[in-house]
Symmetry: C2
Subunit: 220 residues, 2 copies
Amino acid sequence: MTMLRVHNLAVSLDGFATGEGLTFDAPFGHAGGRLMQWFFPTRAFVAMSGHDGESVGAGTRGVDDSFAAATSVGIGAEIMGRGKFGPQTGPWTDDGWRGWWGEEPPFHSPVVVLTHHPREDLAVGETTFLFRDLSPRDALDLAIEQAGGLDVRLGGGPTVVREFLAADLVDHLHVVVTPILLGRGVRVWDGLEGLEERFDVETTASPSGVVHYVFTRKPR
Amino acid sequence: MTMLRVHNLAVSLDGFATGEGLTFDAPFGHAGGRLMQWFFPTRAFVAMSGHDGESVGAGTRGVDDSFAAATSVGIGAEIMGRGKFGPQTGPWTDDGWRGWWGEEPPFHSPVVVLTHHPREDLAVGETTFLFRDLSPRDALDLAIEQAGGLDVRLGGGPTVVREFLAADLVDHLHVVVTPILLGRGVRVWDGLEGLEERFDVETTASPSGVVHYVFTRKPR
């Protein structure tokens, strides 16, 4: 049974998953890197970002890394919002944009990019981006088809995650609450009153100061 | 050095410290008792509410109780908003209202009740309520004067806590995050962007599912 999984959704204590004033140079706006500080030291991130060349196995291996490492296990496809693929909005004016990730994006699988402005599929390294204008349900069906029997990851951003949660399509939701108050930005939790009734919730505090919440969908 | 302390401020994962639709019968509105479920089984609450007559020492003694028990230690006075004292708003029409707590309120100390409608001081058991129209700074000065060298507790509700945090008067802030989404109600964190910069923050997950945050004011 294919699951739809969200991993590493970083949220401030006041419920913002990204800041205000997103630009090319500041993809999290005024939040900067603060929501992901727990992530950067982990072995999983160091390995993913290819910075461990001189030091094999560099990075922490504690609870933060354990959660980070689970991100890629058993995933056959990803769904993301267009805002995660690039900073542009409206009709595509620059088909030369190939995402933030260089010539070998960390997905290594098909990625369904949700956009009201479809364009040609784009292969970059082992990743193929499929730009589609689809409802959450239809996007999930396409991603399942692409995933070859493995799970599908819902990669964000927060607005996309919120839409899929509202449509009750998410089976596994991993949220990381960082003890900072952003004050403004994009809220994750709006319109999801009573969400916890559909999930079992497990809570783990990390020595790094963040709290990991795992929401596991109850059997339907 | 007298400290101003907040204890047991219960907040939903989406940042609401009370629900919508507060009434006499539903002081937390649609939140009901859900924000305080962690508190009711503790030895501290059982003892405070006088329900342990037949079973001395009843109640849990884990981490939730440890935090709950700290609430009263070394406190000489409390400050609360009028909404915590009673459900009325506007000019007092019923001086017969003596609070929610019966003939022996759990404060056993002077309590400064912040209201735009002062009335006569009111003694109930060992507690004296002082109804005053004061700024946060002036309310704190009065409470310090009343506290006889002990600390002052800021008892809520959330709007009052927010005002004192904004005025940078709080030394100790204990927040309990419950993994539910209320969706609506009174937000605690609004207007407090960057609060964490003024505090050291410690995080503890309880087996009950709540997370205790302790904010300790950095030396000025």
